[in-house]
């Protein structure tokens, strides 16, 4: 920990008094390079993601935040032209090795997308989908319970408990996004990746989701991409700043926002570019 990347990432996570002892590394990534065809989108990203913490990825548009996020659960596999190089370990196992089945990986590393994408099924079926395909629950009662628990955790239960049979697509945007979070929770993942989960939402819905993220931190490890500096400051413990495919700086959120080490970070958070 606290190592300094030779190229340009300035690792400023000096041992922190309070949380450091309990800190376990969930994702350990070194030298991650991603190519779309000939074009390189990420250059040697070294980043650790710690358990039961919220890590925020910030940076100007097109800098590779989503790309990095999607390497963590191999979502990039669905893009034909995409190639990934480097070491990406989840609990010490390389996620790109044969030892890990991509289906299991994605069950352990859930994802919430920028635009809410509920399945055109009932609210109940949206949640039950994951547990069913993974055989987490089979009996009706078990599934009922999972549905209720997940919706409760996503603080959506009270709003939808009387209309579980209605289509998930009929909910409001904010409700849909919470439904998608509930859907991800239902599979009992260890990590939840969120790619700009609030960009389509109004401030009230955003506030609820931010609260939710804070609660979820107790049970899950969360990586969130956001364009809102305030949001990163509010919900995350650590922040990583990306710029043009490079990881420029990563560290304690408070530190990144108050005393950034790199000029580019400084410029970005003070709004001088991006």
């Amino acid at each position: 920990m606290g190592e300094v990347d030779m190229s340009n990432a300035v690792e400023v996570t000096a041992p922190m008094a309070s949380s450091d002892a309990a800190r376990e590394t969930k994702f350990h990534t070194r030298g991650v390079q991603v190519f779309y065809g000939e074009k390189q989108a990420l250059f040697d990203v070294d980043l650790d993601i710690y358990e039961n913490e919220v890590t925020a990825l910030i940076g100007p548009s097109g800098c590779g935040k989503s790309t990095y996020l999607r390497t963590l659960n191999r979502m990039n596999d669905t893009i034909d032209i995409c190639r990934v190089k480097g070491k990406i370990e989840l609990d010490g196992t390389d996620v790109y090795s044969d030892k890990i089945d991509v289906v299991h990986l994605r069950a352990r590393v859930g994802m919430v997308f920028q635009k809410p994408n509920p399945f055109p099924k009932s609210i109940y079926e949206n949640i039950a989908y994951g547990p069913r395909i993974h055989g987490i629950a089979t009996g009706k009662e078990d599934i009922d319970q999972i549905v209720e628990e997940s919706l409760t955790k996503a603080s959506l239960w009270n709003e939808v408990k009387d209309r579980l049979d209605e289509p998930g697509t009929g909910l409001s945007g904010g409700q849909q996004q919470r439904l998608c979070i509930a859907r991800a929770i239902a599979v009992q993942p260890e990590v939840i990746l969120m790619d700009e989960p609030c960009s389509a939402l109004d401030p009230i819905a955003t506030a609820r989701i931010e609260e939710l993220i804070d609660e979820l931190r107790d049970n899950f490890t969360i990586v969130i991409v956001t364009h809102s500096m305030q949001q990163a400051a509010r919900v995350s413990q650590r922040t990583a700043f990306f710029h043009l495919g490079d990881l420029v700086e990563v560290g304690e959120t408070g530190k990144i926002f108050t005393t950034p080490q790199d000029q580019r970070t400084q410029d970005y958070i003070t709004g001088r570019f991006g």
Partner: protein, 460 residues
């Protein structure tokens, strides 16, 4: 003064109107287009429309009425003696005159009276054409002058041009609708005449179809039997066999193309499948009658089954191949229309590709897939050629696909082929069958469209 010549003149006039209007508008605004209410070319269209619409109307009306009017005059000038003949005689004479006028061979020798009439005919036509040309020129130029005079920077040319264009579009669609209604009305009318002779109950629920016996009035059983059930059953049977082929093959190939095939393969396979839809049905008919049917018969003998050489199975199989592209191409489109975000959502939960397809994509695309099936079925029901060639003409009431059956469309063809009076029950039955066919395919299409529309609403 041929039609094309006049049309050419008219077009030149209209184009000239466009340029005159445009330059006039610029001049009226003192060379600055921004002072005009509309962009200059709208003033051009304004003048062009003013010139084009009346002249085209004149051309059309004149061309339609020229011949009848000329013939009326010529006929009226014929000597009394010739006018007294019966109508058939009269039309023969008129025919001679017409042929003579256009320099064709006439029947029999030419009397001086006919010759004179023909000369008059020719001169009348020439005068008429000249008059038409002059009138169009005058009206066109007058219209251009009038419209050009109206041009001022404040003239709302764009609004007027757009209104006129909209009116033209509406008229065109009304024409299309009216034609359809006309066709349906004639079907209904003729069917009504049929149902005066044969009761609808007998037609719709009767179990025996043998219209041939009605040929001669002194024959036994001259009334014929017009129970259409065997035809409906035959149609359903063949369509069913066809869908058994086209449904699975079409859907599965659509899934392959949309979800599994690399882009290049998809680019090659999809057009190839669509070529199937472009093969003339007669060719499919050959294939069914000369290859598939004998093959089935031989296999049948081998297995100890009695398959007639004309069988519903052969026709259905080949028809199924023909309608594969209807299912596959449309299903492929609707599967592709399922948003990528749903796929990612499913993958993100750790679903495999096949789970995603089965549980997310197909349910989401189901309404569209049903729509594609409906269209394929209505195509199968309407198909004639393959059935004529491979399934025969015998109206057997059977659910056994190994026997020969016939379908509604095939019977329509056989009823109308050959010399028939158009008021016997036999020929009128064709219209009744056509009406039933129309209603069935219409229902299928409406259902298909409703289903497809419902599907569309889901993601917007």
């Amino acid at each position: 003064m041929s039609f094309t010549f006049v049309l050419g003149a008219l077009i030149i006039l209209t184009v000239a109107g466009f340029y005159l209007g445009r330059s006039r508008s610029m001049a009226s605004a003192g060379g600055t287009a921004s002072r005009l209410h509309s962009r200059p070319h709208y003033y051009g269209y304004f003048v062009a429309l003013w010139c084009g619409i009346p002249t085209i109307l004149i051309l059309g009306v004149w061309t339609v009425f020229q011949t009848p009017i000329v013939e009326m005059i010529v006929q009226g000038n014929l000597p009394e003696r010739m006018l007294e003949g019966d109508p058939a005689q009269m039309s023969l004479i008129m025919n001679d005159i017409r042929n003579l006028a256009s320099g064709n061979i006439t029947s029999g020798e030419i009397t001086p009276a006919v010759q004179a009439a023909a000369d008059q005919y020719v001169s009348l036509v020439q005068t008429s054409a000249l008059a038409k040309f002059v009138l169009i020129l005058v009206v066109g130029i007058a219209a251009i002058a009038y419209a050009r005079g109206k041009i001022a920077p404040s003239l709302r040319a764009r609004n007027q041009v757009e209104k006129t264009m909209m009116a033209i579009l509406i008229i065109c669609s009304v024409i299309a609708i009216l034609t359809t209604i006309g066709i349906v009305m004639s079907l209904v009318f003729e069917s009504y005449r049929f149902f005066e002779k044969v009761s609808p109950v007998e037609f719709l629920f009767g179990l025996e179809w043998s219209p041939q016996t009605a040929l001669r009035s002194d024959q036994v059983g001259a009334s014929g039997a017009f129970g259409a059930i065997p035809l409906f059953v035959g149609t359903l049977l063949i369509s069913f066999v066809a869908m058994c082929v086209a449904g699975p093959i079409g859907l599965l190939s659509a899934i392959y193309m949309a979800e599994y095939a690399p882009l290049k393969v998809r680019g090659a396979v999809k057009p190839l499948l669509e070529i199937l839809a472009g093969i003339p049905t007669v060719v499919y008919g050959f294939f069914a009658a000369l290859t598939v049917a004998p093959f089935l018969r031989d296999q049948g003998t081998f297995l100890g089954l009695d398959i007639s050489s004309e069988s519903a199975l052969a026709a259905g199989l080949v028809m199924g191949i023909m309608i594969i592209p209807f299912v596959s191409s449309l299903s492929d489109d609707v599967i592709n229309a399922v948003p990528q975000s749903l796929r990612e959502g499913s993958y993100g939960l750790g679903a495999t590709k096949s789970e995603t397809i089965k549980r997310v994509i197909l349910p989401a695309a189901l309404p569209g897939i049903v729509g594609s099936f409906m269209l394929a079925i209505s195509r199968a029901i309407g198909e004639t050629m393959i059935v004529v060639m491979a399934a025969g003409l015998g109206a057997n009431l059977t659910a056994n696909p190994l026997e020969a059956v016939t379908t509604v469309t095939v019977q329509i063809v056989t009823l109308l082929v050959g010399d028939q009076e158009f008021d016997s029950a036999k020929t009128l039955a064709a219209f009744a069958l056509g009406l039933v066919l129309f209603c069935v395919t219409l229902c299928l299409n409406i259902i298909a469209m409703a289903v497809v529309n419902k599907y569309r609403e889901q993601y917007d």
